[in-house]
């Protein structure tokens, strides 16, 4: 909190907060509001950078007491092994409790059917919403950011979901000042987005400032990949490559972490946080535009999935 920002006229205002301090303070306020008002909150934790950032903020918000929330991971069955390893180490290190909802178990039990395109990201909605009902979670923290996607730009910080977890963008509660309304009926829950106002660059700058450890796949490394729809996908048991797709070894890194079947790597030689920040500041592509196939399906793909209960 000691960063002193320089105001544009060159003088130093001792009471100006840097933009990272402002965002941090706002996110911590949101975590504490949920702790104060809800019975059974849970943090969606995938081992991706946004959920890692959220856990870090939650740890700071309640220190020196432990984080008063459990974690929930929706495991598509096609996750990167490095990320699952990171997830388990983190849970262990902070003495947290992790719930896992498994897409693979739903498929094995015949409750979900594999899609023809092999993508499992949209299949997460059912295990997610059923886990929320089963555990009676009343507040579900997500790492969604408004800068990611145009439907997410319309999302409230506190977003009421009905008993089917559905989002109705036209019936959202107005959100005024910092007065978040978390009232909900039994069976309903509230999705909470503490880092709504962060951009991808903010996330990376904060990770650097705080020295937060990340899974290695965020940094450039050699990997066996193949090209599909203009993205580099990791070859693996999940179903790639197909016969005509050629595997090659390239130096790549990931900007987002999701299901292996729809999350693409980018060519990169950024092996350090500094290099990643430089690369993102110069990039002419958004995070999702560069590396997420699921958002390219239609102009309203994210909105449609969010309406169904996707986070």
């Amino acid at each position: 909190m000691s960063t002193v920002a320089t105001v544009p006229d060159g003088t130093v205002n001792p009471y100006a907060l840097s933009h990272l301090d402002s965002l941090e303070s706002e996110a911590v306020h949101i975590f504490r509001e949920v702790a104060g008002e809800f019975e059974r909150p849970v943090i969606l934790f995938s081992g991706g950078k946004d959920s890692i950032l959220m856990l870090h903020l939650a740890l700071k918000a309640f220190a020196p007491a432990p984080v008063p929330f459990t974690l929930l991971h929706v495991d598509t069955g096609h996750n990167f092994p490095e990320v699952l390893d990171y997830r388990d180490r983190t849970v262990e290190k902070h003495g947290l409790r992790l719930h896992v909802a498994s897409v693979q178990e739903y498929i094995d039990a015949g409750k979900l059917r594999e899609r023809p395109d092999g993508t499992r990201n949209p299949l997460q909605t059912v295990p997610l919403t059923e886990a929320i009902q089963r555990h009676r979670f009343d507040a579900v923290f997500g790492g969604g950011r408004r800068d990611e996607e145009k439907a997410r730009a319309k999302e409230r910080v506190f977003s009421l979901r009905d008993e089917f977890s559905q989002w109705d963008p036209r019936r959202q509660r107005p959100e005024l000042w910092q007065l978040y309304n978390g009232r909900h009926a039994p069976g309903e829950h509230v999705r909470v987005f503490p880092i709504s106002n962060w951009t991808e660059l903010d996330v990376w700058q904060y990770i650097e400032r705080e020295g937060i450890e990340l899974p290695e796949i965020y940094f450039a490394h050699e990997r066996e990949v193949f090209s599909r729809s203009g993205m580099w996908l990791t070859a693996g048991d999940w179903g790639g490559p197909k016969d005509h797709e050629k595997v090659e070894t390239r130096q790549v890194r990931y900007r987002t972490v999701g299901d292996m079947s729809c999350t693409g790597a980018v060519d990169s030689d950024a092996t350090t946080l500094d290099a990643v920040i430089t690369e993102i500041a110069a990039s002419r592509l958004t995070e999702r535009g560069a590396t997420r196939a699921d958002d390219k399906m239609s102009e309203a793909a994210m909105e449609d999935r969010k309406r169904e209960g996707y986070f």
Binding site: M1, A5, S18, A153, P174, R183, A281, R284, G289
Partner: protein, 448 residues
């Protein structure tokens, strides 16, 4: 030219400005927002490509920059902005959060939503039409919400031959009007969002204008206020009590400083109980500090073991607000269901939610001409009016004019949780201007 590395380095030390835009449908608000994003190089290739594809797909020749901000299916179908969209962009000098609010009168509540957290509002006017009713509404909402800085952007200057007298007349009319409402600071800028004049780049067509471009002004307007003049306020969110071997006796009150400055050693009162003690320590997210200020999230430790819980307010012992159960306020009704006299509601103020009853609705404001309608009996969606509310428990409430954070509240429907009404406590928002202007008969008209 700034290199990406320099940009990244500079950005880590910059400040954040939250601002809102307001303008009628055809004033060119989307074009201005699109121009700001585009010319500050905040629209990335894939976003522009998506917008271009979508525009071509519906038969338009050029990319429709409004599609950058209209994120919902229904908005794209109808070609209008229904709900607030938040946009993010950065320059080497500052980072921005833009609340892009709809212009229609039936979406007044959305402008209120956007303006409630804004430090600056951009009110757009078409140079050909000048100050119209909708402009007055936007000025009134900005004044009501006490947005500290207002920019009047006189757009479409290209369509009036970039004529200075046109701009000067509009600027003068608006400034006089807004000042009468108590808007503290107004900056008028002549622009053409379509041609790019004075938005990001200075105009080559208006040498008579010596002021900043819109972006320059956004980059340089001060965002932190003189906190020494603010009443210090700290609403308690949660009590932190680890009860671990390492911290057996730690007891801290976590919250975000709503206003002013707190120091270790300071005498403070805890409201509503009124008990007094001393600040023993301040923990700023893991770091022990001697002084902290708004809007930092911190944990305060007190010298005496007194009863403090969520919903309490910590304030300097010699500068604590009075507690009250009778709240008078100006409100904006934001729900589809009406607010009526006699209605039982919940009132959420800072971290405290209490039962309340609507005792009276003395007046409703007619937004068209800003006249008062006495005793309307109820308020419906988008109405602005005065209300009197009695609460079941005492509240430590400030006037909204003194503190946006501790003077604001929500009324909530206890049955279904709907956010009904946005409230701003205290006397009329124009009271300050009245005092300055030595209350004339005309000023009394603004007393709502």
């Amino acid at each position: 030219m700034t290199t990406p590395i320099q940009l990244a380095e500079q950005l880590s030390a910059t400040t954040l400005l939250r601002f809102a835009t307001a303008g009628s449908v055809d004033d060119g608000k989307s074009t201005l927002v699109g121009r700001l994003l585009h010319d500050s190089k905040s629209v990335l290739t894939d976003q522009l490509e998506a917008v271009t594809q979508a525009s071509l797909g519906r038969g338009q020749e050029a990319p429709d920059l409004a599609l950058l901000t209209d994120g919902l299916r229904a908005e794209r179908e109808q070609g209008i902005t229904i709900d607030v969209a938040y946009r993010y962009f950065a320059t080497p000098r500052r980072r921005f959060i833009l609340a892009d609010t709809p212009g229609h009168v039936q979406y007044t509540r959305n402008m209120v939503t956007g303006a409630s957290t804004a430090e600056l509002a951009v009110v757009l006017v078409d140079a050909r039409n000048g100050v119209v009713e909708q402009t007055r509404r936007h000025a009134a909402v900005a004044a009501l919400l006490r947005v500290p800085h207002v920019v009047l952007a006189v757009n479409k200057m290209d369509l009036v031959d970039y004529a200075e007298p046109v701009f000067a007349a509009i600027a003068e009319e608006f400034t006089a009007y807004a000042a009468s409402l108590g808007v503290p600071e107004i900056t008028a800028i002549p622009i053409s969002a379509l041609a790019g004049d004075n938005v990001v780049e200075p105009s080559a067509h208006m040498d008579w204008y010596g002021g900043p471009t819109v972006l320059e002004h956004l980059e340089t307007v001060p965002v932190s206020h003189d906190l020494t003049e603010c009443h210090a306020r700290f609403p308690v969110q949660v009590v932190i009590r680890p009860q671990t071997a390492e911290h057996p006796d730690y007891r801290g009150y976590a919250g975000q400083i709503a206003a002013g400055v707190f120091r270790v050693g300071e005498r403070v009162s805890v409201l509503p109980s009124g008990r007094t003690t001393t600040i023993e320590g301040i923990d700023a997210l893991g770091e022990s500090v001697d002084v902290a200020w708004a809007p930092q999230s911190v944990t305060i430790r007190l010298a005496d073991d007194i009863d403090v819980s969520r919903g309490d307010l910590i304030a300097p012992a010699d500068d604590a607000p009075a507690v009250t159960q009778d709240v008078e306020a100006t409100v904006c009704h934001v729900a589809d269901q009406p607010l009526t006299v006699g209605q039982r509601v919940l009132l959420k103020h800072t971290t405290r939610t209490v039962k309340a009853i609507v005792k009276d609705i003395p007046s409703r404001l007619t937004l068209d001409d800003l006249s008062q309608h006495p005793a309307p009996g109820k308020l419906v969606a988008n109405d602005i009016g005065r209300v009197v509310v009695r609460t079941a428990e005492p509240l430590a409430l400030d006037a909204y004019a003194d503190s946006r954070r501790t003077g604001s509240f929500l009324l909530i429907d206890p049955a279904d949780g709907t956010t009904l009404t946005a409230g701003m406590a205290g006397a009329s928002f124009a009271a300050e201007a009245d005092a300055d202007a030595d209350t004339s008969a005309e000023d009394a008209e603004w007393d709502f």
